[in-house]
């Protein structure tokens, strides 16, 4: 066996339009160890792992794997060298058998025509499955398996590629306590056989239990690294969140009537029994980790994925919101967390996107009044400082920050009293971020009720008059940003 670390990453940088996802990151993983990678959402963990697995390419920096320079341009190259990734969202072929899934892309074949040797495939699959301790038949249909078994199959697949480095992205997020135990058992066995594991998790107790070493990332930068024994939970949390608050603090202006009230709202598999209210003139921040149900909550209030139980009151009156159209009529608008997915029509111009939700105000009867539409678009572009070459430029050519302002302006044109914002500054640069924050404060000052979901702690503190924290689909607490610290929020978001 060669000396030196199995994986060595130096100065890795990856820039996306508007954000530096990775900025000179380093990482060193020794052979036969479990290396935990921690950081808040957006710290750059996923980007780093995607680069290692060959799903993305770095702009600069060095990666050495087994002592050799390594620049994977395709997942196959990473797999061949021995790097396998178990994705958080498993990506199986549900209609194929377990054996077919394990050997996808490198099926054992016979003869020059590539006739698949089904018998050998199933035999080898069975051996691999027993090695990872899975009690599933290789001939089962993948779609019939539970999450835990699917995960074992994915690990067996990695073994089939003779993986020496296994990347696991929140592998326990969908497992029961017993399944977690057996996964940990398997990880120890893999470790003993010389396989290294990069383990990404938001659960501290897991990290302290199975990791040998830990590396902390924050805002795309390397913060620190060391043996797990040299750290405690408090130190780790402050490494993860420890940065100065952004300029400007929460708005503590006069607060008006209860515009939005939510009581016992639930949606199966998303969130349970959530109650809160938002008054005119205040910003309510909702903090929590990814998957805590925050996005689902906002989407339910906006009618995109209505709740199964509970009630929503708007100005004290019970409202039945079954579609975004209902919500808009009631004066509720949502700025979603997915600009490309359901925020913008990429091929349409800035102007057409702006007026999409409120075209009626630029119309005479069924006809669009072009001059009225131009005027509305120009007004909004000026009011929010949207920098675009022209109002008729396709919106997809704008920077992330300007696209986000278009989404916000579109929502504002519907003249809502209640504005829901989901990760309003995700993926935009710092200058645009400050501008969006100022817009949000201005909305609250003008008497609107604003609810902001954000995974960025400083943002939550910079904007909110009150902070609600969600964990595992439930509200886990409410904090006053003037007295609480980021560590307090993190504890409510993570403790199990």
């Amino acid at each position: 066996m060669l000396p030196g670390p199995l994986l060595q990453v130096e100065g890795l940088t990856r820039v996306f339009p508007g954000v530096r996802a990775l900025d000179g990151v380093r990482l060193e993983v020794a052979r036969g160890t479990v290396h935990a990678l921690v950081g808040e959402n957006g710290a750059g963990k996923s980007t780093l792992m995607r680069i290692l697995a060959g799903l993305d390419v770095a702009d600069s920096g060095m990666i050495h794997f087994k002592g050799q320079a390594f620049v994977p341009r395709h997942p196959v190259e990473a797999l061949r060298l021995g790097i396998s990734m178990i994705h958080q969202e498993l990506l199986p072929f549900p209609e194929m058998t377990v054996a077919e899934n394990i050997f996808m892309g490198h099926e054992p074949t016979r003869g020059p025509l590539g006739w698949i040797d089904r018998g050998r495939m199933e035999r080898e699959a069975a051996a691999l499955l027993s090695r990872v301790g899975a009690s599933v038949a290789p001939s089962r249909r993948m779609g019939e398996l539970g999450v835990a078994d699917m995960q074992l199959v994915e690990i067996a697949k990695a073994m089939a590629h003779r993986a020496e480095l296994l990347i696991m992205d929140e592998p326990t997020s969908a497992l029961s306590a017993r399944e977690v135990e057996s996964l940990f058992g398997l990880i120890s066995e893999l470790k003993a056989s010389g396989v290294s594991v990069i383990y990404i998790s938001h659960r501290f107790e897991e990290i302290f239990r199975i990791a040998d070493e830990v590396t902390v990332l924050r805002d795309g930068r390397f913060v620190g690294s060391g043996p797990i024994g040299s750290l405690d939970e408090g130190r780790l949390i402050s490494m993860m969140v420890g940065r100065e608050l952004g300029a400007g603090s929460s708005c503590g202006g006069p607060v008006g009537e209860r515009l939005l009230e939510v009581r016992g709202l639930s949606r199966r598999g998303m969130f349970r029994d959530v109650s809160f209210c938002a008054r005119g003139g205040e910003v309510v921040g909702i903090a929590g980790l990814m998957g805590a149900g925050r996005t689902g909550l906002l989407r339910a209030i906006y009618g995109l994925a209505p709740a199964d139980a509970g009630e929503i009151r708007v100005r004290g009156v019970v409202a039945r919101i079954v579609s975004p159209r209902c919500a808009l009529v009631l004066g509720i608008a949502l700025v979603g967390d997915d600009r490309k997915g359901d925020g913008l029509v990429g091929g349409m111009s800035v102007k057409h996107n702006l007026t999409l939700a409120s075209l009626g105000r630029c119309c005479r009867g069924p006809f669009i009044d072009p001059s009225a539409e131009d005027r509305v678009a120009d007004e909004q572009m000026a009011a929010l400082g949207i920098r675009a070459p022209h109002r008729d430029a396709p919106v997809e050519f704008l920077s992330g920050g300007n696209q986000q302002k278009v989404v916000i302006a579109k929502a504002l044109l519907a003249e809502p009293n209640i504005l829901l914002l989901d990760e309003p500054t995700r993926g935009i640069d710092i200058a645009a971020k400050a501008e969006v924050h100022e817009i949000i404060r201005g909305l609250a000052r003008s008497g609107k009720a604003v609810v902001v979901v954000s995974s960025e702690m400083p943002e939550i503190f910079a904007l909110s008059g009150r902070i609600l924290v969600m964990r595992g689909g439930e509200l886990s607490g409410e904090l006053d940003p003037r007295r609480a610290t980021q560590e307090d929020v993190m504890r409510l978001a993570m403790r199990n």
Binding site: P324, R325, L344, V345, L356, P394, K410
Partner: protein, 334 residues
């Protein structure tokens, strides 16, 4: 995926300032995409004028226009559905059904002249409405739904006619297909009106804008409070109505309601729209391009006829043009 539109064509740009700073020329391919189709049309036009004296005559050009009128009307209709991101394969059969039903109402002295026209279009509307209902409520892909309708409508046309052509149509009715006004054939006038109306609806009316939004990004359209189902319904019903109108015009032109008319017409209509720059994934394109696409197909057919190229070769040429046009269109979209 959204079919991203890097820069519009000058004839169907949804922005009002196609040549402004927004669309400042970036690459040669871009330029080719923007002006390629009219340029190709001009080159073919010039080439045919030079190659044969029979091409560039008023009489021949009117023949070309009359030949494309049925396909043009169908293509304008299917453009609406394509813009929403769907497809309509039932056009040819709906055309036959409408033609047969209209022909039944067009016997001499039976009804006023407008009646068969209205009935034919209503039959088309009903078929389009049925398509829309299953697509929106049942969430069945439009390809499947309209494939089914293609067979159902053909069957209905055979039932309605007893499998035989419906003849003995009134003189007035037949003028819809064979008449002329100021030397211009009536079908050409109808196509011009349909195209103009569709252009106004898609570019200047609210519902038209919504059609583009639904095709461009359905999730964003829904999240913006648009009634996606109704908008799709509008597109399919419009498409059906125009197929009905085309059926009436065809029945009038051949003076019979033919249950076997219009087989594979839907493919020519889709081809015209696609050559004209309308994206099969929705949200991109428009009526201007569709008409140019139909014209291109018509001029090439006519030219090959005049040059005595056997019709077998014409098919090969047509196929290559369809693929080539889309290839160029894709090339600029990275």
């Amino acid at each position: 995926m959204i079919g991203p539109q890097a820069a519009g064509t000058w004839y169907d740009d949804m922005s009002d300032n196609a040549n402004g700073p927004a669309g400042a020329g970036r690459s040669r391919l871009d330029w080719l995409r923007r002006y390629g189709l009219p340029l190709a049309l001009a080159v073919i036009f010039a080439g045919l004028s030079a190659a044969t004296p029979n091409f560039l005559t008023a009489q021949n050009l009117i023949i070309v226009l009359r030949q494309i009128s049925i396909n043009g009307i169908l293509a304008v209709g299917v453009t609406f559905v394509l813009l929403t991101g769907g497809v309509d394969l039932s056009l040819g059969s709906v055309l036959a059904l409408s033609g047969v039903v209209a022909a039944h109402c067009a016997h001499p002295g039976a009804w006023p002249l407008a009646f068969p026209v209205v009935v034919g279009m209503l039959v088309g509307c009903a078929c389009g409405g049925a398509n829309a209902l299953v697509v929106t409520r049942g969430r069945v892909p439009s390809f499947i739904v309209t494939l089914g309708m293609m067979t159902v409508a053909r069957g209905l046309a055979l039932v309605a006619s007893g499998g035989k052509p419906v003849s003995n149509l009134s003189k007035g009715f037949c003028l819809i297909g064979g008449g002329e006004a100021l030397g211009i054939p009536v079908p050409v006038i109808i196509l011009a009106c349909v195209a103009a109306l569709a252009y106004v609806v898609l570019r200047h009316m609210r519902v038209g804008r919504h059609v583009y939004a639904v095709g461009g990004n359905e999730a964003a359209a829904r999240a913006s409070g648009l009634r996606v189902g109704r908008i799709k319904c509008f597109a399919y019903v419009t498409c059906g109505a125009l197929a009905g109108l085309a059926g009436v015009v065809l029945a009038a032109r051949i003076t019979t309601g033919q249950p076997n008319a219009g087989i594979a017409y839907e493919l020519d209509a889709i081809a015209a729209a696609v050559i004209g720059g309308t994206s099969l994934s929705g949200g991109v394109g428009g009526v201007g391009g569709t008409i140019l696409g139909a014209l291109l197909m018509g001029v090439i057919n006519n030219g090959l006829d005049l040059l005595n190229v056997p019709s077998y070769y014409q098919q090969i040429v047509k196929g290559l043009i369809i693929v080539g046009a889309v290839w160029i269109d894709r090339g600029g979209r990275r």
